[in-house]
C-alpha cells in the first residue's frame, strides 16, 4: 500500500485501540474517538485531492459537522457520569456490579 494509505490506516487503528484499551479515564476514550475522527477527516480530504474528484469536496465538512455532534453527545455523557458516579474513572461505571 502507499505510504499515505498506511499512515491513515495506522492512525485510525491506533485511535481505535486507544478507545478499546483505555484504562482509567473516560475522557481519554473520548479523546481517542476524536483522533479517529481526525484520521477520517484527513482521509476524506486527501481522497478528493488525490483522485481529482471535485464531487466529493463537501464530504469532509459534513463529516466534521457530524463528529461535532458526536463529540458533544460524548461530553454530555461524561458530565452525566461525573454527576451520577462522582468521578470520571471508568471503573466507577460498574463498581456496584457483582
Amino acid at each position: 500500500m502507499t505510504p499515505t494509505h498506511f499512515t491513515i490506516s495506522s492512525a485510525f487503528l491506533l485511535g481505535m485501540m486507544g478507545l478499546a484499551f483505555h484504562r482509567t479515564h473516560l475522557l481519554s476514550a473520548l479523546l481517542c474517538l476524536e483522533a479517529m475522527m481526525l484520521a477520517l477527516f484527513i482521509a476524506l480530504s486527501l481522497w478528493s485531492l488525490q483522485l481529482d474528484a471535485t464531487g466529493c469536496s463537501t464530504a469532509p465538512m459534513l463529516m466534521l459537522a457530524f463528529s461535532a455532534c458526536e463529540a458533544s453527545a460524548g461530553l454530555a455523557l461524561l458530565v452525566a457520569t461525573a454527576r451520577t458516579h462522582g468521578t470520571g474513572h471508568m471503573q466507577a461505571l460498574n463498581l456496584l456490579q457483582c
Binding site: L19, A20, F21, N94, Q97
Partner: protein, 612 residues
Amino acid sequence: MHPTTLMYTSSLLLMFAVLLYPLLVTFTSLPLNNDWASSHAKTAVKSAFLISLAPLSLFLSTGMEAVTSSWTWMVTTTLDITLSFKFDHYSIIFIPIALYVTWSILEFATWYMHSDPLMNRFFKYLLTFLVAMLILVSANNLFQLFIGWEGVGIMSFLLIGWWHGRADANTAALQAVLYNRVGDIGLILGMAWLATNVNSWDIQQMFILSKDLDMTLPLLGLILAATGKSAQFGLHPWLPAAMEGPTPVSALLHSSTMVVAGIFLLIRMSPLMENNQTALTLCLCLGALTTMFTATCALTQNDIKKIVAFSTSSQLGLMMVTIGLNQPQLAFLHICTHAFFKAMLFLCSGSVIHSLNDEQDIRKMGGLHHLAPFTSSCLTVGSLALTGTPFLAGFFSKDAIIEALNTSHVNAWALTLTLIATSFTAIYSLRVIFFVTMDTPRFLPLSPINENNPAVINPLKRLAWGSIFGGLLVMLNINLFKTPVLTMPAELKLAALAVSILGLLTALELATLTSKQFKVTPLRTPHHFSTSLGFVPAIIHRQIPQLSLLLGQKIASQMVDQTWLEKTGPKAIANATTPLASATSNMQQGLIKTYLTLFLMTLVLVTLISAT
C-alpha cells in the same frame, strides 16, 4: 301647501323646538337655578301638550290626514331616504296623550326626585326620551322610526341604571339593552328585506308594492322586534327588572310610552299583516301566552312596582292578541287608555313608597286609605280602570277587545288564556289594594306620610280624570275602521265582566284567608312557579351561562391541556420511551472495556481474514 298640512307640520316642528330648548342649557355653562326642572322642563312639556291639541282638534273636525316629506337625506341608486312625518289617526291622537301623561309624570318627578343632586340631568334624560318617542311615532319611513327606536332604547338604558351605584340596577339596565338588541335584529331584518324587495322604506310605497309578495319573512322580523321592545314571552325578563329605575322612569317608559313602541310598529305595519295568516296566528298565540304567563307571575309578587310591571306586560300581551285578531285600531285604543291608568298606578306606587320611607314590599304596608286617602282613591280608580270596570277608561278598549276575541274565528287556546289572564288581572289588582290600603298598618309608626304637596296631588288628579273619561273621549271622537260585531249571545257579551267578577270574588276569598290557616301543608309547587317567574330568569340568566362556562372550562383544561398535550401528545412520547430506556439499560452490564476490546479484536480478525 294645504293650510291643514301646514298647521300639522308647523305644530310638530314647534313641539320639537319647545322640547329641545331646555336641553340647550347643556351647551351653555350658566349655572341652573334651583327649580329649573319645574320652571323649564315641566313647562316645556306642558306647552308642547297644549300645542299638540291644535292638530288634534283640527283632525277631529276635518278628519284629514297628511304626510310631509322635506329634506332629502340620502339618495342612492335604488333607495331614497327623506325626512318625512306622518300625521295620521294614530300619531295625532297618541302624541297629545303621551305629552299629557309626560307632563303629569314630570310634575310628579319634581317631588319624587327632589333630594337627588343630579335632578336636572334626570329631567334632561326624560326630555331626550320624549323627543325620541315623538320621532318614532311621527315617522313615515322605517329609517326615521329606527332612529326613534334606538333613541328610546338607549334612554331606557341610561334611566334604568340611574342609581348606578347599585349592582342590581346595572344588571337590569344591561338586560334591557341586550333583550332590546335581540329584537332590533328582527327590525333590521325586516328593513333589509323591504329595502331589497320593495325598494323603499316609505310606508306608502311599501304598502302599495307588497300587495302580491309573500311577506312572511319581514313580518317575522317585525314581530321579533315587537317581542323585544314590548316584552313578549321569550324576551320578557327585562321589563320586571327595569323596575330598578326610579318610579317616574317606570311610569313613563315602562308603562305608557316606550314599551308600546313595538306594538305601535305592528299597528303601523298592519296593512302588511292583514293577509298573512302565519303572522297573525303567531301574534295571537304569542300575545296570549305572554298575557297569561305574566299575569300568573304577578299573582305572588311582593314588590308593588313588580306587580304593576307584570300588569303592564300582561296588557302588552293583550295588545299583541288584538293585533293577532287583525284589529290594529283596538290595540291602539288600548295603548291610549292604558297609558292613563298605568302611569297613574305607578305614580300612586311612587307616592306610597316615598310616604313609607322607601318601603316597596306590600307586606309591610297597610291601612293607607285612612292615612293617604287621595293616593288610595287614585290607586283604586286606576285598578278598576285596569280590570275593565264598565265605563271607566279601560272598559272601552278592553271590553271591545274581548268581544272581538269572542266573536272571531280564533284559536280556542288563545281565547282561554286571555280570559283567564283577564280574571287574574282582577285578582292581583285586588291583592295590591288589599295589602296597601286595607286592613291594619304593618309599617313603622314614624313614617313620613305626606300627600299634601300639590306636585303630587295635581298629577294624580289629572291622570285620574284621564283614567275615568279618557276612554269615553277617545271612543266618541274617532271612527272605527273595521265594523265591530255588535250582536252576540248574552254570555259572550258579558264574558269579560263575568271573568273579572269571578276573579274579584276569588281574590276577596283569598284575602280573608290571610289570617287563617286553610290547609295544614299548602301546595307549594304552583307558588314556586309563580314566585320564581316561571324559572325563566333562573334558566336563561344563570343555568345557560353556567353551562357555557363549564363547557369552556372542560375544553380548555381537560380537553386541550390534559388530553391533547399530556396523554396523546408530547408527554406521551416521554411516557412511552422511559420504560423502554430503563428496560434496555437494565439488560446491559456495564463492562465497557470488555465490550470495546472484543469489538477491536473482532474488527482486526475480519480485516485479516478478508485480506487473505
